[in-house]
């Protein structure tokens, strides 16, 4: 009897939350996404072209792949601003190896390993010495990028094996679907399942909401944070492989400034910068909003600097929206009382 009631309750609650979905962040994002698509397709006849749409994903999928672990980092209440520098570092190591004649398989291994090692170093310093993530990754951001500059100077590595080009330029079979895009969706599903369906995800939310209570409840807080920083490094290494493969060369300023775009995407996706709140779906929509918005603006020849202004405005407006809605609500309730 009790059990039945319990199940009944949960169904009821799910029903209520279905109603609430209308007001949820993801709905707002979906709406913005549709608006972007409609406006873009009206402004330019080239926007809704299948090949164009597929090819434009090359411009943002590498960032998107880092945005996935960044969701975990930010939900935990941390931040990692060294990710773009990890890309540079990994790319330089791959470039050096490639000059020395290492094959494609070896390059991928080096890219993934150097990324993971850099992420592990971040996480180790943060958790072992209890230093805030912003301070540590601010330092390692300069450190990793600095190493890249010292090794390369004003030169560039341009010699990569032909088969290495597949990762950043290849398509799946005879379709026009980029390999990168499929890889991203697979990763998004895996990260989504981990965040929302596993004990690991529950623990990440617990840490982000109250790390003390999480620790008192037996959750290995620092170990989980260390894993997350390492995985962020791993994904940065992966992004480095894709990017290096796509552009076919390594310069020390590769992926410069990406960290802010990645964090912007995650925040626009509804992940609370204070930690403890967020979901994968919102960030995935947010990735495509920003990507397609930039693509559409590019089609009608909007300069890059103006794009930044528009993206900045979009972020501020989107963040303000729930606050504005909240302020509208109490007014209604007050008028109810008077009756």
């Amino acid at each position: 009897m009790n059990k039945e009631n319990g199940v009944l309750d949960i169904k009821k609650i799910r029903k209520i939350s279905l109603l609430n979905i209308m007001w949820q962040w993801e709905t707002i994002l979906l709406f913005i996404f549709i608006m972007v698509a409609i406006i873009n397709s009206n402004l330019s006849p080239y926007f809704l072209d299948y090949t164009n749409l597929m090819n434009t994903t090359f411009n943002f999928i590498e960032k998107a792949i880092i945005a996935l672990p960044m969701i975990f980092v930010i939900i935990c209440g941390d931040i990692d601003i060294s990710v773009a520098s990890i890309i540079a570092l990994s790319s330089v190591f791959m470039g050096m190896a490639s000059q020395a004649g290492v094959n494609t398989f070896g390059l991928v291994a080096i890219g993934l390993f150097s990324g993971s090692a850099a992420g592990f170093l971040n996480g180790f310093i943060i958790t072992k010495f209890g230093i805030p993530a912003i301070a540590v990754t601010l330092g390692s951001m300069s450190l990793f990028r600095g190493i890249a500059y010292v090794i390369l100077g004003d030169k560039a590595f341009t010699k990569y094996p032909t088969s290495f080009a597949f990762f950043g330029q290849g398509y799946i079979g005879n379709t026009m679907i980029p390999f990168e895009l499929i890889l991203f969706f697979i990763l998004a599903i895996i990260f989504g399942i981990i965040l929302h369906k596993t004990t690991m995800g529950r623990r990440v939310f617990a840490i982000g909401n109250n790390s003390t209570a999480a620790r008192f409840s037996g959750i290995p807080v620092n170990r989980i944070r260390l894993i997350i920083f390492t995985v962020t490094g791993l994904c940065s290494g992966l992004a480095s492989i894709l990017l290096t493969s796509r552009i076919g060369s390594t310069r020390p300023n590769i992926a410069y400034g990406w960290e802010l775009e990645i964090i912007t995407t995650v925040v626009l996706g509804g992940v609370a910068i204070t930690g403890g709140k967020g979901n994968i779906f919102g960030v995935v929509i947010s990735i495509f909003i920003i990507g397609f918005l930039k693509f559409g603006m590019g089609l009608i020849n909007v300069p890059g600097k103006v794009m930044n202004i528009i993206i900045g405005l979009l972020l501020i407006l989107a963040i303000m929206l729930p606050e504005l809605l909240k302020r509208l609500k109490p007014k209604n309730s007050f008028s109810n009382i008077k009756k």
Partner: protein, 499 residues
Amino acid sequence: MNNCIIEMKGIKKYFYGVKALDGVDFKVRTGEVHALIGENGAGKSTLVKILTGVYQPTAGTIILNDKPVQFPSPQVSQKAGISAIHQEATMFPDLSVMENIFMGHHIRNKSNGLLSWREMKDKTQILLDKLELDIRPDTKVKNLSVAQRHMVEIAKALSLNAKVVIMDEPTSALTLREVEYLYKIIRKLKSEGKAIIFISHKFEEVFEIADYFTVLRDGKYIGEGTIADITVDKIVQMVIGRSLAQMYPKLEAEQGNIILKVENLSKIGVFKNISFDLHKGEILGFFGLVGAGRSEVMQTIFGIDTKTSGEVFIDGEKVYIANPSDAMNFGLAYLPEDRQIQGAILAMNIRENITLPIIDRTSRHIFLDRNREFEITDEYGKYIEIKASGWEQLVEDLSGGNQQKVVLAKWIATKPRILIMDEPTKGIDIATKATVHNFISELAKKGIAIILISSELPEILGMSNNVIVMHEGVITAKFTREGANSKKIIRAAIGSISK
């Protein structure tokens, strides 16, 4: 009694249709300490917020010195001579005592309009002298103890020429000695004709310091009277609406074998040579003043802190506990003192909170099973009688007592053999308190060994089979239930050991 300074009549306050206050009368006279008593949610805070101008009443009148008044904002109420002693929320830790006291009503030089720091400093010194406070006006507030901060708040109220001073749970973070000092200051203010509204959960305090009381229950006025003419039992009855046969329902439990043995546990600079035995079914009380090191000892046993030396045995075998997860595997559970920071995750729901330590047990491999979580939450939530609209309700939306029940349910759901409870009834209402006491006894009867840390002497005396007293990091006395009395315990707690 016509010397009423404040009279509130028929105060009603509705929030979105919920009656927070429903026709409350409240009178305060000059020169009295007036205890406002009621459970959490009885409406005390709402009443105080109306008096200080934070809320506007839905209906009712406020009469100040025989004249009807309105307090549309906190500033108006403050000007009228009503001051509330907040705790840390309104202090600026990086500013000096003087700047904190005169925040919002700085004294200006009349000729040039600049701030007159010298005058403020002199006035601050006078106020500090009056409160017998041995601190300098330019000391930064962050360097003060909790008790001293309270005093600075009181000084601020005096600087505002307050005639009515409201103190909301002023003793909750104070040590025994500091409480005595607070009482002294309260009596002094009283003798100067100030009216003091004293809000407390602790009846000993109310009987110690208050002259008069008003009881609220569920937003309604229940009664008032002089403290001298009433007994604890009667007040308890008024507060909870029924008589509490026993506040401390100690069921005699059979004591079994030694389950936990601690030998010479030390942590440099925190505690030293802590040794004790804990039996199955025993309730072992730990008494001491704030800062005696009781929580630190328990957190070390539970693997949150690391020890310097010493050993812990469970079931006669030496164990190494490196973290709370190890401790839980040995059957330990630790209900922490600060439920909002260490205990519950406020922004998560009841189900997620209760299942957090046992999430590996409720899940299928690594995948969450929400139905199973729901069943366990339902089982323990009902057992501990958590009052909530559903198990998906956020813990931050619950009352303090129910939050504590969530934390208790969370730890009982781990099925511990040894349950360490750190101030389990701190800051919760009397009805919940009685419920918690009932559970402690029931758990002990089931053979669970319990360590009860408490700073409330009646609780220690009422619940424990044995009592250990700590002072500044060392055990100063051990008593059996029969051999313990409040005098001996207090002596050991303040460090004057008498054999």
